[in-house]
């Protein structure tokens, strides 16, 4: 939300593109690997979902409008996220409005632990566990860990004009998981120029997150379960995001937007569930330790969007985003959508997205036992170099009662270095970045109570 509202003049579609990555990563997806996956899901969705709404927002005199959706994000052999979402907006006179968004994410499945695959030397012959359902590590396969969690989130935004040509939006957001709580506020002011052909926006969004890992807060580089490996229960993370945006209507058909975003994070930035293998020179993982990341992060993002109305309601959207942070990650996103309005009732919308990122400076496959520990190290695949490609197709249909039904399907793949050069010994022959495949399905229904009920009478 933080970033979306900063560009409130634009259709939601546009706001969500690209920048959604950042917002979603930070906020919702906090600390776990699966969060990352959910993030991928969310961002790909956000990339298209609002776009559809943009051109075909239901029009009504009813002050209330609702948007309900159900999303299923499913990775082959890994996690599945089910996400019901309800948003409602109440319009008041004089362009004032209140929006409330409620989201539930239910996540189950397996995510990479960060450790390296067992080798023939280290894989035990068999395994014991209280649950009785443990499976023996497979030689050469990156270890996954099963997990399950549910996240509840609520975002509320109030928008109103502040003065002639000035508008403002103020919001609060909060989310809760069993081990993570995030609370933030955000505000944005927009100023229109040139008969509203130009809009300048400035916004800021501070947030406090509390990490309360299951089993306590691990000490960086400690060996799990060794006495003294846990220090207390929780730690906090402070995030401040700022954004500057310009939206320019070039002509009747062409609209451009440029955003610069700056985010600083401070506090507990480790992933408490991620481990890092200690390996010998033969590549055998001898033991594992908790990861260690810096306690600061500064992130910059540049975002440029062009929307071109080819004719009538057919719109091409192209968004480019460049991101850079002081952990050494650089990323580029290219996102393309085409909104084809077949007739008054029906549209379809293909979507293609490409994403590439470089690795963080302290990303390591594992650490050698005979070397001293570096200042920071993490084997989290989210910090590795990878490419991601999304193909999607959405259909929107305006029903007779004026409500809108949207269905979307997306296919997401994420691929990295299968056999990285840094691999040691036996690890050289293993696939250390298995390509991830995911399918995202979404149903979305938008309505205003007035239309819905009046038809039924």
């Amino acid at each position: 939300m933080t970033i979306f509202i900063l560009v409130a003049k634009l259709p939601k579609a546009v706001k969500a593109l690209g920048e959604a990555d950042v917002a979603a990563t930070k906020r919702k997806l906090g600390n776990k690997y699966l969060r990352k996956r959910a993030m991928a899901a969310a961002s790909t969705l956000l990339g298209i979902a609002p776009a559809a709404q943009a051109a075909e927002k239901i029009t009504t005199n009813d002050p209330w409008t609702f948007d309900t959706s159900f999303t299923r994000y499913s990775e082959a052999e890994r996690i599945t996220v089910l996400e019901p979402q309800i948003s409602t907006k109440r319009d008041f006179s004089d362009n004032r409005s209140l929006s409330i968004l409620v989201t539930v994410d239910s996540i189950t499945g397996a995510t990479p632990l960060g450790t390296l695959p067992a080798t023939a030397n280290t894989a035990p012959n068999t395994i014991t566990s209280p649950s009785g359902h443990a499976t023996n590590p497979i030689v050469g396969k990156i270890p996954l860990s099963h997990m399950t969690d549910t996240r509840f989130a609520m975002d509320t935004t109030w928008e109103q004009p502040l003065a002639p040509n000035y508008s403002g939006a103020f919001g609060i957001n909060a989310s809760k998981e069993t081990d993570y709580i995030a609370t933030g506020i955000n505000s944005k002011i927009a100023r229109d120029f040139n008969q509203k052909n130009t809009t300048l926006s400035i916004g800021i969004a501070p947030e406090i997150d509390v990490n309360d890992p299951n089993g306590g807060l691990p000490i960086a580089y400690a060996v799990p379960y060794v006495p003294g490996s846990i220090d207390g229960r929780r730690d906090t993370k402070w995030i401040i995001s700022g954004l500057l945006g310009v939206t320019q209507t070039i002509n009747r058909r062409l609209l451009m937007q440029f955003n610069y975003g700056l985010t600083t994070e401070h506090g507990y930035l480790n992933d408490p569930y991620k481990l890092l293998s200690l390996i010998n020179e033969g590549g055998d993982p001898i033991s594992a330790i908790y990861e260690k990341r810096p306690r600061e992060r500064i992130e910059h993002s540049f975002y440029w969007l062009t929307r071109y109305n080819i004719w009538a309601k057919d719109v091409l959207g192209l968004a480019l985003r460049y991101y850079s942070d002081d952990w050494g990650i650089r990323s580029q996103t290219l996102d393309f959508t085409f909104h084809r309005q077949r007739n008054d009732h029906f549209y379809w919308e293909p979507h293609v997205r490409y994403y590439h990122q470089s690795a963080a400076d302290f990303y390591r496959l594992g650490l050698l036992t005979n070397q001293s520990l570096p200042e920071f190290a993490s084997a989290d695949l989210r910090l590795a170099e990878f490419n991601a490609v999304t193909f999607g197709l959405g259909f929107g249909y305006t029903l007779k009662n004026g409500t809108l039904l949207i269905a979307r399907a997306e296919y997401y793949t994420q691929s990295g270095e299968n056999r990285p050069r840094e691999a040691v010994g036996a690890q050289k022959s293993f696939d250390l970045f298995p390509t991830l495949h995911a399918v995202i399905l979404q149903l979305d229904y938008q309505f205003s109570p007035e239309k819905l009920w009046s038809r039924k009478k």
């Binding site: 068999t126 014991t128 566990s129 860990s145 089993g215």
Partner: protein
């Protein structure tokens, strides 16, 4: 579901029984032998499951639990198990009690307690509305039984693993990984075992509460996971279960009893 896995040094055969993934490991290259032994193992596991499952009607356990206070004559195998259960009750000073259901909530706390059971081999008489649950014994017992059967037929080094309850025989040294309870899929430690048994008990939300049969309260401050190595799997299971019931004293208890064990607690 049966699958085979060839390893340069040993062979693995897998099957599903007692609601768990099961496997046997044989120190052989003979795949025919694996197939034969696997069949034996599976049949024995399913036999014991069928006989003592709480979820099947008509078996001996069901007859006992549906006896409405009337005496029941049990078969020799069941008699051995009940003798063992009685012994466990004594040894544990009443903590290990098959009438309370070691790992599930008792529906009615008034209807439990091995002291109120009449057991005169081969006649068992349990008070009205009592139930016994052999879940805390059967899987370990089955591992030992299967190992015995397999070794009797072919005396090669063998490991039987029924959902983490392990029995081994022969001269080969086997390595057994202990799963990290907070990071399923990760192994915290690998232990070596030759001729003996390993069992693991735990307390997590997923596994439900463990009830102390004396206080009838959920056990407090127990380790999340206790793995024990002993002469047999059945014995290992006794110690690991008992250690959990000891709660905060689990580690010191095991140490006093000189039981080889590995306990895990998430918070220090």
């Amino acid at each position: 579901m049966v699958e085979k896995e060839i390893n340069p040094s040993f062979q693995v055969g897998r099957f599903q029984a007692m609601g768990c993934p099961c496997e046997i490991l044989l120190d052989t290259e003979d795949t025919n032998l694996l197939a034969i032994q696997l069949k034996t193992a599976k049949e024995e596991a399913l036999r014991i499951e069928k006989k003592y499952s709480r979820y099947l009607s008509g078996n001996i356990l069901d007859q006992i639990n549906q006896s409405h206070g009337k005496p029941i004559q049990v078969d020799p195998e069941t008699a051995l198990i009940l003798n063992y259960a009685a012994e466990c009750y004594e040894l544990s000073d009443g903590l290990f009690d098959i009438t309370t259901g070691v790992s599930r909530k008792i529906k009615d706390p008034k209807h439990a307690g091995w002291t109120n059971v009449q057991w005169n081999n081969p006649i068992l008489q349990i008070p009205v509305s009592y139930e016994i649950d052999l879940g805390g014994i059967c899987k370990e017992y089955a591992s030992d039984r299967i190992l015995y059967l397999l070794m009797q037929r072919h005396s090669i080094s063998t490991l039987v693993n029924l959902g983490g309850d392990i029995a081994t025989g022969g001269n080969r040294l086997w390595s057994v990984g202990i799963e990290d309870i907070s990071k399923p899929g990760h192994i915290t430690q690998t232990v070596s075992l030759r001729r003996g048994g390993i069992a693991t008990s735990g307390t997590t939300k997923r596994l439900g509460h463990i009830i102390n049969p004396k206080t009838l309260q959920a056990v407090q401050d127990a380790p999340q996971s206790v793995t024990v190595a002993a002469k047999t799997c059945t014995e290992a299971g006794f110690w690991s279960t008992l250690a959990i019931l000891k709660g905060a004293e689990a580690e010191s208890f095991l140490e006093t009893q000189q039981v080889e064990s590995w306990c895990y607690r998430s918070a220090a």
